[in-house]
């Protein structure tokens, strides 16, 4: 970690004071009650058991900064230990019992983003985040294929390689946005989504020049970069008359439904963001999609944090799974799954891959208790660490969209040049 003066023209001390004043009451609401109901649902806490890496500590630091006991430099690295899954916010008594009436909720995710952003503004970088965001800035996409040979095709020329042979147009009122992990690594997921849309007769195209959504940069504290990427994408949508964006990745869904509206306000009002899972569940309900090829597997479903905990979307994935004939679906309720996570979110796997692996191993252990042969997820980012943990226990990790495609009789196929995945 390095530290130098702020590059944004403000004195670091003044920016920190402003931050402390903004978060002071929220921090005391947590600190003074001090009850820590969040602790045992926190994916990092469950595997590390370190009280400094808990939502309670993240709030207490603000109180300590106000009291002059701690500085930003001293605490910045602790804030790496969060996947921004949102479980702590749901479990917080301050949210549970008074949130509706007082329009208050505990906002640990925003707090973590704010501290990370403040740190970056003041030149306090975490090495993994720093490198990741520099590469993303350079390539316009996250370096999801690693940097080993320097020649991996994470760049603009290859962002739509996944769609080879599918004959997808560019532009149109509706486009499909594919996140970096799915576009360059887990390419079978966007292939499945695209072909289900074609199967259902939903017209859609691809972006003219898609860049990373900017969400990961925002999550790691690189707010300016996030803003530039968002601006590019919105301008690209405008240039081709986009009205509706279909997303398959829960992380993109958060970025487009929370970050972009904050960044662009009214300018963004007429853009509709559609989650593929909700769209497909609706099409099944209306009889426009009928999965009829039996899939004879014993499965359970992993609620992606950003759907279940952040957005309250847990019915539709289950509707889809229950519509697939042949599945032996051993479900775990969504509230129990508040404690589950893959550990891949918010840059944790960038800075601390070993911690992501531990969290995924724990998630797979829960799945293994159900004696299933596959864990179905609906988040491309979760699927890599979960699959790695699953391999050790003979549990396949399958994407919900791919499973639906299979039951619709779609052969997802592999794009040309798949070998790098």
């Amino acid at each position: 970690m390095s530290s130098h003066a702020s590059g944004n023209g403000r004195e670091p001390g003044a920016a920190t004071d402003e931050f402390v004043q903004e978060w002071r009451n929220a921090a005391y609401n947590c600190y003074s009650s001090g009850h820590k109901f969040c602790r045992e649902v926190c994916p990092v806490m469950q595997v590390e058991r370190n009280e400094s890496w808990t939502p309670t500590a993240f709030h207490a630091n603000v109180v300590a900064m106000e009291q002059g006991e701690l500085t930003l430099e001293e605490v910045a690295a602790d804030y790496v230990n969060c996947t921004q899954c949102g479980a702590c916010e749901l479990r917080c008594p301050n949210t549970l019992f008074t949130g509706d009436f007082y329009r208050f909720r505990t906002r640990t995710v925003d707090l973590v983003k704010a501290v990370r952003g403040l740190a970056v503004d003041q030149g306090i970088h975490q090495p993994g985040y720093h490198r990741w965001n520099l590469l993303t800035d350079e390539r316009r996409h996250e370096p999801v294929l690693g940097e080993a040979d320097g020649g991996v095709p994470v760049d603009q020329a290859h962002v739509a390689d996944w769609a080879a042979g599918l004959d997808l147009p560019t532009g149109g009122e509706t486009i499909l946005f594919v996140d970096c992990e799915a576009a360059f690594h887990r390419t079978s997921v966007p292939r499945a989504v695209a072909q289900i849309l074609q199967h259902a007769g939903v017209p859609f195209g691809l972006m003219r020049e898609q860049w990373c959504c900017g969400g990961p940069a925002a999550e790691m504290g690189y707010a300016d970069q996030a803003r530039r990427f968002a601006r590019h994408n919105l301008d690209d949508w405008r240039a081709t008359g986009v009205k509706r964006v279909i997303v398959l990745d829960p992380h993109d869904y958060i970025t487009f439904t929370e970050d972009y509206p904050t960044l662009f306000g009214a300018e963004y009002d007429d853009i509709e963001i559609v989650l593929a899972i909700e769209l497909f569940a609706g099409l099944i309900r209306e009889g426009k999609l009928t999965p009829d090829v039996p899939v004879e597997r014993a499965i359970t479903y992993h609620d992606p944090c950003r759907l279940n905990k952040r957005k309250g979307i847990w019915r539709e994935p289950r509707e889809i799974l229950r519509a697939i004939p042949g599945l032996d679906f051993r479900d775990v309720d969504r509230v129990t799954q508040w404690s589950y996570c893959s550990g891949a979110g918010a840059g944790l796997s960038v800075e601390k891959p070993e911690l992501t692996a531990k969290i995924s191993e724990r998630r797979i252990e829960h799945a293994a208790e159900l004696e299933i042969d596959a864990l179905v997820s609906a988040c491309p980012w979760s699927e890599r660490p979960l699959a790695e943990a699953g391999a050790a226990r003979q549990i396949d990790v399958v994407d919900l969209h791919e499973l639906l495609a299979e039951s619709l009789g779609i052969d997802v196929g592999a794009p040309a040049g798949e070998a790098h995945a």
Binding site: N29, E40, E69, E74
Partner: protein, 503 residues
């Protein structure tokens, strides 16, 4: 001697690092500050007074024992902390030193379905344990308000109280035996007799209760063997309304005296509590103005036992002037009762201005006949506190049954505290009030604490009065078992046990 981490010298740090490895010995300022407080009222402005010098996160009983041996060798205080959710500052360091954080001891070592026991590390949480036990139709029914976050080790160290203890017993009844590291670093097992799963023995001294509730002054439990019960197939949790406190107070006695075998507990809400809920707790389901006091009860067990028991309690409540509030509040509020630990985020100044306050609860064990007098005097004390300072607000009194005979009640007055505004003057007022609250309990033949412990500033002064000759025995035991006074020094006034040595 260099002071790398507070006041611990390098040789001690090296010895600790050798035992724990670099990842589990923490000396950063944040790591130490995060383990300085518990949810009890805390003088925020004096945070640094309570910061440990180093934090250790041991992964086994042997590592805990090694840490304690090192502490003896170098004369360093050791403060055990598991959940850090206690309300008597047991886990708050008074002399800095080594903070022994037990959260990594969170494994289930054994699940014995034949004897219906399980053996877990002291860092295990009850909610997490019950998630695992559910697959076997079993529960571990230790049910404090901190159920989602407190840990088994802290339950032993504080001798915890359970909301449904009238049915299943409290921590002391539910923990069959435990592995304990003595202040010398020696590892022993305490239970009823020698067998780890025996629930009644007459062999030798009954040592198990002595090593519970000592707030870390007599060592630290690292692993516990727990009693499990079948998960009850039925639950009934009626809420009844009364027009005044006296009727509710009489009714709760009659409900307990009915002696239903499935009766798990009852809670009495006084008039100030209902006024406060009506004023400021929007999660509370609104009731007509005629509702001034409440009683809720809960029954757990087999359906064919809970149903007739429930009918009997409904009849008794009716005969005692109660109005049943219906199924919605019964189910909703009872479910919430397990979680009503933080309540609202705010209280009010005397002028009615909403300000951010946190909930603090002062508890005592009080016999049924004394409840009205104690409740009244406590409101006078908190009322006086409030007259002097807007930092404090009276949030009413609850009384919970502790035992199925109804002999005594965990009685608590809830006080809102505006911690942002705490300063030395307000803190001194608070400590004085705390002492007065404890004095009322003792004067009425009760006990300073039914569940938190009694080692905080203010209340702790009265412990010798309450225990009489028993307190001298405590001092004798402390000296004998912890001759170097390393285990949580300063707590319960036990430094006094070493005065003769100092002479």
């Amino acid at each position: 001697m260099s002071l790398v981490a507070g006041g611990i010298d390098d040789r001690a740090l090296e010895a600790l690092a050798h035992v724990l490895g670099p990842d589990h010995l923490l000396t950063s300022r944040p790591a130490r500050l995060h383990r300085a407080r518990v949810p009890a009222p805390f003088p925020v402005h004096r945070w640094a007074d309570h910061t440990p010098d180093a934090v250790v996160l041991p992964g086994s009983t042997e590592e805990v024992a090694e840490v304690v041996r090192i502490a003896n060798r170098f004369g360093i205080p050791v403060v055990p902390r598991s959940g850090g959710t206690g309300l008597t500052d047991g886990a708050v360091p008074l002399r800095h030193g080594i903070l022994l954080d037990l959260k990594r001891l969170d494994r289930i070592h054994e699940l014995d379905l034949e004897n219906r026991t399980c053996t877990v590390g002291a860092g295990m949480n009850m909610l997490k344990l019950n998630e695992r036990l559910a697959a076997h139709g079993l529960i571990y029914p230790d049910d404090p308000a901190s159920y989602p976050c407190s840990l088994v080790g802290g339950r032993i160290g504080t001798s915890g109280w359970s909301l449904i203890g009238s049915r299943y017993g409290h921590t002391r009844d539910l923990v069959l035996s435990f592995v304990h590291v003595l202040p010398s670093g020696e590892v022993v097992r305490f239970g009823d007799g020698g067998g780890p799963k025996v629930s009644k023995s007459s062999t030798g001294y009954t040592l198990k209760p002595l090593f519970m509730g000592h707030q870390g002054t007599l060592g630290v439990a690292t692993e516990a063997t727990l009693k499990l019960y079948p998960k009850p197939e039925a639950e009934l949790s009626p809420f009844w309304a009364f027009e005044d406190y006296d009727s509710a107070h009489r009714a709760v006695r009659e409900l307990v005296r009915a002696d239903c075998a499935t009766f798990a507990g009852a809670v009495l809400f006084d008039e100030a509590k209902v006024r406060y809920l009506r004023r400021d707790d929007e999660a509370y389901i609104p009731q007509p103005e005629s509702v001034r006091a409440l009683v809720c009860a809960v029954l757990y067990g087999n359906e064919d036992e809970v149903r007739p028991g429930g009918r009997r309690l409904m009849r008794i409540a009716r005969e005692n002037g109660a109005r049943y509030l219906g199924d919605e509040i019964s189910q909703g509020d009872w479910a919430a009762r397990h979680d009503r630990y933080a309540t609202p985020l705010h209280g009010r100044t005397k002028a009615g201005q909403v300000v951010p306050m946190s909930w603090h609860c002062e508890d005592a064990a009080i016999n049924w006949p004394a409840l009205p007098a104690v409740t009244g005097k406590w409101h006078e004390i908190v009322g006086e506190l409030r007259r002097k300072s807007d930092v404090f607000d009276d949030w009413g009194v609850f009384a919970y049954t502790s035992a199925r005979t109804g002999v005594d009640y965990l009685t608590e007055i809830d006080v809102g505290i505006w911690e942002q505004e705490l300063d030395d003057a307000a803190w001194a007022l608070w400590v004085e009030a705390k002492r007065d609250i404890a004095a009322v309990a003792v004067a009425h033949g009760g006990s300073i604490s039914a569940c938190h412990g009694a080692c905080r500033e203010g209340e702790v002064d009265l412990v010798p009065d309450e225990l009489g000759g028993g307190y001298e025995v405590m001092r004798t035991l402390k000296r004998a078992l912890d001759p170097n006074n390393v285990m949580n020094p300063g707590k319960y006034g036990l430094d006094g046990a070493f005065e003769e040595d100092l002479k």
